[in-house]
């Protein structure tokens, strides 16, 4: 017995060396893959690309791995939701009733660098860039035609993230696939705000031009980015070039919109509302150029179009069950539009309602207007008593829906999540961008593009047609509002037309005043969030904040 014990002691001592080797572990979970094994299976590269897309649309990995961003609410910190908030509730188009910290400051243009919604979008866009960088590194140099296209798509998505960041924040931290990952401190392209923004503009443009021919043919790879998506983004940044660089580039804008138009792959949907319905995707919808895909079963989240539908619905006036076919966790009663934007929607109110006040009590759904784009309903009153008063006040918007265009139930229907894609570039935008470029370049044919869009909107009713003489800058801005309201474009358009912060245009609660007031010009860009400044000493704060 003693010998056995001594032997046992001896054996266990021998185990020491093997025990130390036990410390070399690698994940045993089949859901976890070591970065070094990414090229083992072609499916991995597809799934990693799916992540770059999904980083714009949903919160994260679900039960396996959770959200991408550690935040108080995963869904707030998604691009489609945060982008929408910054682009819409800061403008005349929308106001949000919720009491979340920071919302009221967006409603009234009184935000600071601590605002969680700014932080959300800044971090989200940076994270999409970081995921894209990683993908671009891993897929670089491949001769596989599929991987070459995927690589270009990742570069497209990175350019898109930078384009938005340039528009919203001006001069964000800048990294590419050449930068390391770890405890590092990235820099801006230039410490001087205007120089950095200009350099970022040049980078986005050169990236897009470089990948143009590596992407799929127009309309060939929806919802993945293709050449037309690339041209649309080029057109968009050129349209706003003066804001970003100080130099207008309307000719380039016109050039790229024409590439889209002349590709012949796109046309306006017969019914305007198809663009915001569950069947708004290609090939059902010839108008959609690039969108973020949502699916009731496969791509879920309280973000994107589900967020738009639910936050705009309420239990009393616009019920999601009735209008949108969503029955679970509905009617969040937050977002709605304001009186001032109602006048934009109705255009020349006199032509619609005569010389009378809008009879919203008897015509709450604007039935007298021939413009089919007015998918709104007046709630308790057109006036909103305070920046955070109940969502029962104001103009309800039910433009987006979870149903199909014809009112039928969506494929992959879910009680809680819409299958409606979130439009980024529609063909109508190609037309209106070209119209604006032409208008700025003094080309009188601009009115034809505007009328093409309006003909669809007015169901070819002559009431929609305008003359070249009626087309002016204000009309163009208003027309973009009517066509693209609630599509996360308004702030960019108002800034380009100089109406976001200055004293030319007031709307309810702008600057915190009931009828709106002048706000400072530095608010035309959002500040680099304080979270970023305190974690990265290399980042220079945005001027004015």
């Amino acid at each position: 017995m003693n010998k056995i014990i001594i032997l046992g002691i001896f054996l266990s001592t021998l185990m020491v060396s093997s025990c130390v080797k036990d410390l070399d572990v690698t994940p045993i979970d089949p859901n976890k893959i070591l970065a070094g094994n990414l090229n083992d299976d072609p499916a991995y590269m597809q799934q990693a690309l799916a992540k770059v897309y999904a980083s714009f649309t949903i919160a994260g990995q679900g039960a396996n791995g959770g959200a991408d961003i550690a935040a108080s609410d995963d869904n707030f910190f998604t691009t489609t939701r945060a982008l929408w908030n910054l682009q819409e509730i800061t403008t005349d188009e929308a106001i949000c009733a919720w009491g979340d910290v920071g919302i009221s400051d967006l409603n009234t243009q009184t935000w600071s660098a601590q605002n969680p919604f700014l932080t959300a979008l800044y971090q989200r866009l940076s994270l999409s860039v970081t995921y894209a960088n990683e993908y671009i590194r891993n897929s670089a140099g491949s001769s596989d035609p599929k991987l070459i296209r995927y690589n270009a798509e990742a570069r497209y998505l990175r350019a898109l993230a930078y384009a938005w960041s340039m528009d919203l924040f001006g001069n964000p931290a800048f990294t590419t696939e050449l930068d390391p990952v770890g405890k590092v401190f990235p820099k801006q392209l230039d410490p001087v705000f205007t120089t950095g923004r200009k350099l970022l503009f040049n980078y986005v443009v050169s990236e897009l031009k470089d990948i143009e021919n590596k992407l799929g043919e127009p309309g060939s790879s929806y919802p993945q980015a293709d050449q037309a998506a690339c041209w649309m983004l080029l057109a968009r940044v050129y349209l706003n070039a003066e804001v970003y660089t100080g130099t207008a580039k309307f000719d380039s804008c016109k050039f790229y919109t024409e590439k889209v138009i002349s590709s012949g792959k796109y046309s306006l949907a017969t019914n305007y509302r198809q663009n915001f319905s569950a069947d708004n995707n290609r090939p059902n919808n010839p108008e959609m150029i690039f969108a973020f895909a949502y699916d009731g079963v496969n791509t879920q989240g309280y973000t994107g179009t589900t967020f738009l539908i639910e936050s705009s619905s309420d239990a009393t006036y616009i019920r999601a069950e009735d209008f949108h076919g969503l029955t679970a966790n509905t009617n969040w009663n937050g977002n709605r539009s304001k009186k001032q934007f109602m006048y934009v929607l109705l255009g020349d109110t006199i032509s619609v309602y005569g010389n009378n006040p809008i009879p919203w009590a008897t015509d709450p759904m604007f039935k007298q207007s021939k413009d089919t784009r007015i998918l709104c309903k007046v709630k308790k009153s057109v006036d909103i008593p305070s920046p955070s008063s109940s969502g029962d006040y104001g103009i309800g918007v039910y433009k987006f829906t979870a149903k199909n265009t014809n009112g039928s139930q969506a494929a992959n229907y879910s009680t809680a999540f819409a299958s409606t894609d979130f439009p980024v570039f529609r063909y109508a935008d190609a037309l209106l961008m070209r119209a604006e470029a032409k208008f700025r370049l003094g080309d009188a044919t601009a009115v034809n593009d505007v009328n093409a869009v309006r003909a669809r909107a007015f169901n070819n009713d002559p009431a929609g047609v305008i003359t070249a003489g009626q087309l002016n800058a204000n009309f163009l801005l208003a027309e973009r509002g009517r066509e693209f309201y609630y599509e996360a474009q308004r702030r960019t358009d108002l800034v380009r037309f100089g109406k976001f912060t200055d004293g030319n245009y007031f709307w309810a609660w702008k600057g915190g005043a009931v009828n709106g007031t002048n706000t400072s010009k530095h608010l035309n860009v959002f500040p680099i969030p304080s979270d970023e400044l305190s974690s990265n000493p290399n980042i220079i704060p945005t001027p004015g904040y």
Partner: protein, 1011 residues
């Protein structure tokens, strides 16, 4: 030490004269208590010298208790240095043949041993003195034991006689309020609920702050198991003998990397060698009730409010109200009757001491549809073999728990549900229950009764822990022990959480009804081996320990939810799974050096390897040193009658932390696949996404340096005893989740080593025995702990404004961790009041001086207070008079603040939203807030409290039937709470008081039988 020797008057004439001389000399010197070392040596030498001439003599006698004179059956009588010996019989008698001059040793558990040299006496009666309780106690420390008087670290022992009384099903509850500096907060009143244990404040921010818990030598994996609400549930509280809390680093450092938050060693009861077979039954029945309910409006009150509030809510809202006065809270709570039975058998079969126990608990929660049935079984075998050279300690514990969780979300629903509505309106689509979606409000509060009663949320957890510890005295080196400990811990859970299709969609979004199944499995294996060498050389004593430890943890689990996706639509399946493991390998050593039994030095060193870190950072070296001076043993105090004990302790040590709560691979670059519902469409197919995970290749140990000064004291024969400790703990390289620069990693935050924090405090423990007489005994235990926590560094940059905020965007960030303040301090707007002292809605001090709206902007908030108490006190009392006994425990917590989350969410405009009515606490009638004021310091309250935790009275009946003894007892738990806090219960973990399972008041009747 007092020895009484009854020499026979008869003096043997044939005994050598010199022997008699020395014998007399010894007796005399003993009496004078002045024996010198040299004379003793001479005496021993002479005894041995004459041994050869001596003849065997028959010696007999009785062993009894020195205090009460009662005989001690089963005491060991042994001829020293031989295997000759016996146990005393039932009357405490013994009879042995010995050679004159040999030394007889008398030992009995719980008594001081005695040795007597045999000369010529035929009769030798021995009265053994009970060990003077705590002072001579042997305490378990890491990898060994030490006499309490020789301990150099800050150690507190709580043994079964001091445990909290009552219907206790969780081991942690036994210790609440019993040990200075140990804060135990139960999660609530749910059956089998777990607790949060904090020793001397938290030393970590994002790594675990739980102490290391070691049960019978096996470190327990404290990672949760789905379906199990308490990781310590496998230990039946009735089986526990002692809790030993190691607080300072000199005591804990032997556990190195896992000891930063203290160590709790749990020892279970064992059979006694030589003890006769003992049978014991403990059973109780208890009745529990909710103490109070949250004060909310009645149906009549809410109808009145609806009329008064026409300006705030639309006129049509009134029509949505019903005509009832339903008290929803009363509908979901009940009087709960529970029972608990424990049976144990212990004793020894020859040299095999054993203890077997089984326990059965059937606990019903005061919330309907919540209950737990638990069966525990334990076996312990502690034989000594091969001429005492091999000590075996075998423990096996098993538990089977069936738990019914119900839905404690119904507690919040019951405070929110419109009291004007009926419970059942007969609507068949919702199984007859009133539900708001039937009245056009999809987001309406779910009917609390349906929410609670229709859910089928149960789990079954099984866990087995076994360990075999072999302590072997090496035959050729008797001072050397080898100790091997092999343990296995296996836990398995299966559960489900189902809801019918008639449940409102809000409870099962995005499904219509759901079937959820989950399971998990934790496996933990341990192998410890160490050598222990003890040698006394003159006045020096060396106790050297060296060894290694290997531990493997593996955790896996999966969850699957199937839901019906609307009428006529497909059912949807969500599933997820995980499997993960980690290893710890350690080498450790300890030297205890004692000089002159007065100066004690302990040095420990542990080298720990963790598989969580990359090769270069994997190993951490954790040293400690402690010095103790038994001042009482010095000549100038040795004879003091007043002072019975005085010891000074100085300790210093470094401990580590690697218990990262949710990631076993934080240093590795990995990708993770998304679960269904989080796919994206690529080339026409919905595929899972693969995300790179944020990682820090250089992540390493968090290190806590502790300094401790302690004084142990005792007066008047230790009728007053206690200890006082002051400490400072500094944690560096905090494992901290911080914001990372955008673009630098794969998330916005990263777990890395950044920052430092500090805990400073003092502890006082006092044990008083005011009365100790034959029939009356009274003892009082008092402890108080004081701790302050401060963050000293937090981020990469030294930006003074950097802070970590807690709280969601919706209800506002109310807590902050910032340099210069305690972790998780409150961060609130300063309320402004009107002339009559009422808060003015939405008006706060403009602390930033920027003007404008100050609503919710962090710049206008200030930092004040936190939820950790400054002082925590425990006072317990034990009183016996003849067969009657009485005990009680009280606790006081001072300086802990709470944010009344239930009150802060209350506003008139929230009462009618989205087409349904919500109830609010009646506190709203005091604030009259129309809008919610989520960050007003009006709702921050001093939640200091005094709690009378339990009162227990018992009566003992001896020999009611033959040798059967019985005791009946009556206990009340959660007797009284004194606090200024306005909410239901001031004891809330985390600082924000939202609805939680209330702690009931329990009345218990207990019966114990022993034979």
């Amino acid at each position: 030490m007092k020895i009484s020797i009854c020499n026979s008057n008869e003096k043997s004439s044939n005994q050598p004269i010199i022997n008699q001389l020395f014998n007399n000399m010894k007796v005399r010197s003993m009496k004078k208590n002045l024996i010198s070392f040299r004379i003793l040596l001479l005496f021993v030498a002479c005894t041995f010298a004459f041994q050869a001439f001596a003849q065997d003599i028959q010696i007999s006698g009785k062993v009894s208790d020195a205090k009460d004179g009662l005989s001690l059956p089963g005491a060991t009588v042994q001829v020293k240095g031989t295997t000759v010996g016996m146990l005393t019989d039932l009357d405490g008698k013994y009879s042995l043949k010995v050679k004159p001059g040999s030394v007889l040793s008398f030992t009995f558990i719980g008594y001081d041993p005695q040795e007597v040299t045999i000369t010529s006496q035929k009769t030798l009666d021995i009265a053994l003195q009970q060990s003077s309780t705590t002072l001579e106690q042997v305490v378990v420390i890491g990898y060994g034991t030490v006499k309490k008087s020789d301990a150099t670290g800050s150690i507190s022992v709580t043994s079964s006689k001091d445990f909290n009384k009552g219907a206790i099903t969780s081991p942690q509850d036994l210790l609440v309020g019993k040990s200075a500096g140990v804060v135990i907060t139960t999660a609530g009143g749910a059956p089998g609920a777990g607790s949060t244990i904090r020793i001397r404040g938290g030393s970590s921010l994002n790594a675990s702050n739980d102490p290391l818990i070691i049960v019978d030598g096996v470190p327990i994996d404290n990672k949760g198991l789905s379906g199990s609400s308490n990781f310590l549930n496998f230990v039946n509280p009735n089986d526990i003998e002692t809790f030993t809390v190691l607080k300072d680093a000199s005591a804990t450092a032997i556990y190195g990397s896992r000891a930063s938050n203290g160590v709790i060693l749990i020892t279970t009861k064992k059979g006694q060698l030589g003890g006769k077979m003992k049978f014991a039954y403990d059973g109780n029945t208890s009745i529990a009730n909710a103490i109070d309910y949250t004060d909310v409006y009645s149906g009549d009150q809410i109808r009145q409010i609806a009329q008064d509030l026409v300006g705030i809510n639309s006129i049509d809202s009134y029509a949505k109200l019903g005509s009832e006065n339903t008290n929803w809270q009363k509908q979901i709570f009940r009087t709960a009757v529970s029972q608990d039975h424990n049976l144990s058998l212990s004793g020894a079969v020859k040299s095999l001491p054993y203890r077997v126990s089984v326990g059965y608990t059937d606990q019903n929660g005061i919330l309907k549809n919540t209950d737990m049935q638990r069966t525990t079984a334990s076996l312990s075998l502690t034989p000594t073999m091969f001429k005492n050279s091999l000590k075996v300690n075998f423990n096996l514990k098993g538990v089977n728990t069936n738990q019914n969780f119900g839905d404690d979300g119904s507690i919040e629903s019951a405070t929110k549900m419109d009291p004007s509505q009926v419970i059942k309106d007969g609507n068949t689509s919702s199984d007859g229950y009133f539900q708001w979606p039937n009245y056009g409000a999809n987001l309406g509060t779910p009917n609390p009764v349906e929410q609670l009663m229709a859910v089928d949320n149960k789990s079954n957890v099984q866990r087995v822990i076994g360990n075999l510890q072999l302590d072997y005295k090496i035959p050729f080196l008797p001072d050397l022990h080898a100790n091997l400990n092999v343990a296995g811990d296996y836990a398995n859970s299966d559960g489900y959480n189902n809801r019918p299709v008639t449940s409102p969609n809000r409870l099962v979004t995005p499904y219509w009804g759901k079937i959820n199944n989950y399971s998990s499995k934790n496996t933990n294996n341990l192998l410890d081996f160490y050598l222990n060498y003890v040698k006394e050389i003159g006045v020096n004593k060396i106790d050297l320990t060296g060894g290694y430890s290997w531990q493997h943890f593996k955790r896996e689990g999966d969850s699957r939810t199937t839901g019906f996706n609307g009428v006529g639509h497909i059912s949807q399946v969500d599933k997820s799974s995980f499997i993960t493991e980690n290893y710890l390998v350690s080498f450790f050593g300890r030297l205890n050096y004692t000089l002159l039994n007065r100066y004690l030095l302990t040095v420990t060193l542990r080298d720990d390897g963790s598989s969580r870190f990359a090769k270069d950072n994997r190993w951490g070296l954790f040293p400690s040193a402690a010095f103790a001076w038994k001042i009482k043993e010095e000549s100038f105090l040795k004879n003091s009658k007043v002072l019975s004990d005085l010891k000074l302790r100085l300790g210093w040590g470094v401990t580590g932390q690697q218990d990262i709560t949710d990631n076993d691979y934080p240093a590795q670059a990995t990708y993770i696949t998304s679960s269904p519902g989080n796919y994206y469409i690529i080339d026409g197919q919905y595929i899972p996404t693969l995300r790179p995970s944020a990682y820090d290749p250089n992540i390493k140990w968090e290190e806590t340096t502790t300094m401790n000064i302690g004084l142990d004291f005792g007066f008047v024969d230790n009728r007053i005893s206690g200890s006082f400790d002051v400490y400072k703990r500094t944690t560096d390289d905090l494992l901290n989740t911080v914001n990372v620069p955008s673009g630098s990693n794969f998330s916005n935050t990263l777990l890395t080593n950044v920052g430092s924090l500090e805990n400073k405090g003092a502890e006082l423990t006092l044990n008083l025995v005011p009365i100790s007489k034959q029939d009356v005994y009274l003892s009082l235990g008092f402890n108080v702990g004081y701790n302050v926590n401060e963050i000293t560094k937090l981020n990469f940059t030294d930006d003074p404004n950097y802070a970590i905020y807690y709280g969601d965007a919706f209800s506002g960030q109310k807590q902050i961790t910032k340099v210069g303040y305690p972790a998780r301090s409150f961060f609130l707007n300063q309320q402004i009041y009107d002339a009559s002292g009422n808060p003015i809605e939405g008006l706060y001090a403009d602390l930033s001086g920027k003007g404008g709206s100050v609503n919710g902007d962090n710049a206008d908030k200030y930092i004040a207070h936190n939820s950790a108490p400054d002082y925590l006190m425990g006072l317990s009392l034990r009183f016996t008079y003849k067969d009657f006994d009485f005990s009680g425990s009280t606790r006081a917590s001072i300086g802990n603040y709470l944010y009344n989350g239930i009150g802060s969410g209350a506003s008139y405009d929230q009462m009618y939203t989205n087409g349904y009515w919500t109830n609010e606490p009646t506190l709203l009638s005091k604030t009259n807030f129309v809008k919610r004021q989520q960050t007003s310091d009006y709702f921050l309250e001093n939640a200091s409290f005094f709690k009378l935790d339990n009162l227990s009275a018992g009566y003992k009946f001896d020999n009611i039937y033959k040798k059967l003894n019985a005791r009946i007892s009556f206990t009340v738990q959660n007797v009284l709470t004194v606090t200024k806090y306005s909410g239901l219960d001031p004891e809330v973990n985390g600082g924000i008081d939202n609805s939680f399972y209330p702690r009931p008041r329990t009345f218990m009747l207990g019966v114990s039988l022993s034979y």
